[in-house]
């Protein structure tokens, strides 16, 4: 295994696969903060050249955290589909990139290797791709999931309705919910981040959303994004929980900082098998985001793209209905500006899809990051073109509880119109029956909450 490359007569050598992966990353403030990024643009390209020569088998054999030190490394190894892996293990990362981009490599073929792709492989090939490469490859991947409705079909673009409220005022949540539904949002989930993380408030919000769904016969699912332990207790309070949520990270230690481990997630999944209110077979919802391991000092010297892919390795065990990267949420110390946030959104979408996950993206910025509203609008369109499964949606993109800027109710029908994509078919039919929209075409009742009861 050669960990070196020569550029203009100067040989750049690297000490480990982990170092090659980190230095091959495009510039990210979080990698600078962790002290793992390339010294300069030339060393970055040298790392990419070295990476391009490694085989997928070598990447699998060298996870960025050794299995004996980390439960996520062990979980990935335990869950890997050996026959899918066998089809591509001999390829170098550079050859794997070319195979993915080849016209003859269809979505179906990509799907057949998805469960044999380890996080390090997904992250490795991602680092050799340009933004447009990531969009071409991402748009080819087909990941279809089903709960109360069907997400990820070709030609569809869904959205999470995120009617957060700073005091969990249920009436306030419902005002935002109705408004969002009237713009065609909410086919992925109506999901609330609660201000108060208690089983009682979780159950109360779920019942309120469940009521509005039943009253209007809306084919979607509801979820309250409290901690998984809180949701498990809420299940005992007899509430309609369609999806169970949890934030995930790419190392055992980072997940511990989230208050979870593999055993707990296994338990939560088993509980939902029996107690959920939804159809399934997919019913878990996970959120991730580059930088979430470093923020708890649990990055083990690895870069944030590879750690992000490892969170997908964890997510994959539970056949989730939704996974999304909250791409600009953690702050400029991890993704400094518009170009870094844009790049990360496209990377995360591609890596998740390649690994077989229904990837959505919360295209967003905090107000201390250097990203303009115009750049954020651009990212939403890029994600729509790249085949992103779903975007978020909230009133004017302003989360009044979490204080950041994301996708708005208005953006969802706008992006659908621009990229000619429809909501999930069941939800599309419901929207058409209310005159809100049909496919990507707005109807005469778009934005009219009086069509809801």
């Amino acid at each position: 295994m050669k960990l070196a490359a020569t550029i203009r007569g100067v040989t750049h050598s690297f000490g480990s696969v982990r170092e090659v992966l980190a230095k091959a990353n495009p510039p990210k403030s979080g990698d600078d903060l962790a002290g793992v990024s390339a010294r300069d643009p030339v060393e970055r390209v040298a790392a990419r050249a070295a990476l391009s020569q490694l085989t997928l088998a070598e990447l699998r054999a060298n996870p960025v955290i050794p299995p004996e030190e980390d439960a996520i490394s062990r979980l990935v190894e335990d869950d890997l589909d050996e026959s899918a892996f066998a089809a591509v293990k001999h390829l170098s990362v550079g050859q794997f990139r070319e195979w993915i981009l080849d016209t003859a490599t269809t979505g179906a073929r990509l799907r057949s290797v998805a469960l044999g792709v380890t996080p390090e492989i997904a992250a490795g090939v991602c680092k050799l791709m340009s933004n447009m490469d990531l969009m071409v490859a991402g748009s080819k991947c087909e990941v279809v999931v089903r709960c109360n409705n069907t997400l990820g079909l070709p030609g569809t673009l869904s959205s999470r309705l995120q009617p957060n409220h700073p005091t969990d005022d249920v009436e306030g949540i419902l005002y935002s919910t109705r408004e969002g539904l009237s713009y065609g949002c909410g086919d992925a989930v109506i999901g609330i981040n609660p201000a108060t993380d208690t089983p009682e408030s979780t159950a109360e919000i779920l019942r309120a959303i469940g009521d509005i769904r039943t009253r209007n016969q809306i084919p979607t699912q509801q979820c309250v994004l409290s901690h998984v332990l809180v949701q498990m207790k809420a299940l005992a309070l007899d509430c309609p929980m369609d999806l169970m949520f949890q934030s995930l990270a790419g190392s055992e230690r980072a997940n511990k900082a989230f208050g979870i481990d593999v055993a707990l997630m296994n338990e939560a999944y088993d509980l939902m098998q029996r107690r959920r209110s939804s159809t399934g077979p997919n019913f878990m919802y996970f959120e991730t985001g580059q930088g979430n391991a470093l923020s708890s000092d649990a990055h083990h010297g690895a870069d944030q793209v590879t750690l992000e892919a490892r969170a997908y390795g964890f997510a994959r065990r539970y056949k989730p209905f939704l996974v999304n990267t909250v791409v600009g949420f953690i702050g400029p110390e991890y993704l400094e500006d518009g170009p870094q946030i844009t790049r990360a959104g496209l990377e995360d979408h591609f890596m998740g899809k390649l690994m077989g996950l229904p990837m959505g993206c919360d295209a967003c910025f905090t107000y201390h990051a250097r990203m303009s509203q115009d750049e954020l609008e651009g990212l939403k369109v890029l994600l729509g073109v790249a085949g992103c499964t779903y975007l978020m949606s909230m009133p004017v993109g302003d989360d009044i509880m979490l204080n950041y800027q994301s996708t708005s109710f208005h953006d969802v029908p706008t992006v659908r119109g621009l990229v000619r994509k429809s909501p999930a078919p069941e939800f599309d039919a419901w929207l058409a029956s209310r005159g809100i929209s049909s496919g990507w075409t707005p109807g005469k009742h778009l934005g009219d909450v009086s069509v809801l009861r």
């Binding site: 005002y175 713009y183 400029p332 110390e333 107000y367 302003d398 009044i400 509880m401």
Partner: protein, 306 residues
């Protein structure tokens, strides 16, 4: 063998004439004057819709704002851009180097060199510069119950706004409860955890840092307060108690000061802070602060009048 260019042009022109049209576009339509669009709803008392009116009793989310096609009406765009500008301006504002001296605080600075580094290197914003640390250790009042610290954090606008009032009220509330208070200090380029080093050098039992919080849309003037018992390098978020949204439209500084003093007293009584601190004995006095991450809603103000 290629034809001369003039010959090619003649051929193309002849083809167009044969189609009866030189202009590739269809003839232009003559439009009557475009009717004025209906006035769009917006949460101003004069003009808001019944829906927006009813919603405003429950939420500050901008709902009932209608749409033009699938986009926002012009007044919504302007309001939104004004809110965004307020937030960005708050982040970009720096605390002047002389501000602490002018306001009679001991002036300290973290290891951060400039504003961009402040945003990108939270680790440097958590430690005092060598000069500041030495000067603080040599001159501060030691072995106090409470060390009050004012800091810029992510909004110097908030620090310079309600900061001095909150600081003075907090000190007075602590002294009224019999606690000894350390030398009032103001730190630049400061993150929350800077309280650990400042408090440790003063051998304070409790360190309280009051600093500008991350701005939200239209709200760049909020302060947050973090208190930690037995401040020392290595404390984590689990060791701290916090109160956010301190400003005139949220928790007024005078109310916040009283609750923070009660919180400090509770820490002295129980000799701990953070997740281990039992807030129940003083829940009534602490009010919303006893509820952890609670953030009171902020009324949304119309920012643009034309």
């Amino acid at each position: 063998m290629s034809l001369p260019l003039s010959r090619t042009r003649d051929l193309v022109a002849a083809l167009r004439r044969a189609r009866d049209a030189d202009d590739p576009m269809p003839p232009r339509e003559r439009l009557p004057p475009v009717p004025l669009p209906p006035q769009r709803v917006f949460p101003s008392p004069r003009r808001r819709s019944r829906l927006a009116e009813a919603a405003a009793a429950h939420t500050t989310a901008l709902v009932g704002i209608g749409a033009v096609g699938t986009r926002y009406a012009t007044d919504v765009v302007l309001q939104f851009q004004a809110e965004l500008a307020v937030a960005h301006a708050a982040v970009a504002t720096q605390l002047p180097a002389q501000w602490a001296d002018t306001n009679q605080y001991v002036s300290l600075v973290s290891r951060v060199a400039d504003h961009r580094q402040f945003l990108l290197r939270p680790d440097l914003g958590r430690r005092l510069s060598e000069e500041s640390a030495a000067r603080w250790a040599a001159t501060c009042r030691k072995d106090v119950d409470v060390q009050p610290i004012l800091a810029d954090g992510l909004s110097a606008v908030a620090t310079m706004g309600a900061g001095p009032v909150l600081m003075a009220a907090f000190i007075a509330e602590c002294e009224a409860r019999g606690m000894s208070v350390g030398t009032p200090v103001c730190a630049r380029f400061a993150r929350v955890w800077l309280q650990d080093e400042i408090g440790q050098l003063a051998r304070a039992k409790v360190a309280a840092i009051l600093l500008g919080e991350r701005p939200g849309l239209g709200t760049g003037d909020g302060l947050s307060a973090y208190l930690v018992y037995s401040p020392a390098l290595g404390r984590t978020d689990g060791n701290r108690n916090m109160m956010s949204n301190i400003h005139a439209r949220g928790i007024p500084p005078v109310d916040a000061a009283r609750r923070l003093a009660v919180l400090a007293q509770l820490m002295l009584e129980q000799r701990t802070s953070g997740v281990e601190l039992d807030l129940a004995p003083r829940a009534a006095e602490l009010g919303e602060a006893a509820r952890g991450g609670y953030r009171a809603p902020v009324a949304r103000a119309r920012l643009v009048e034309v």
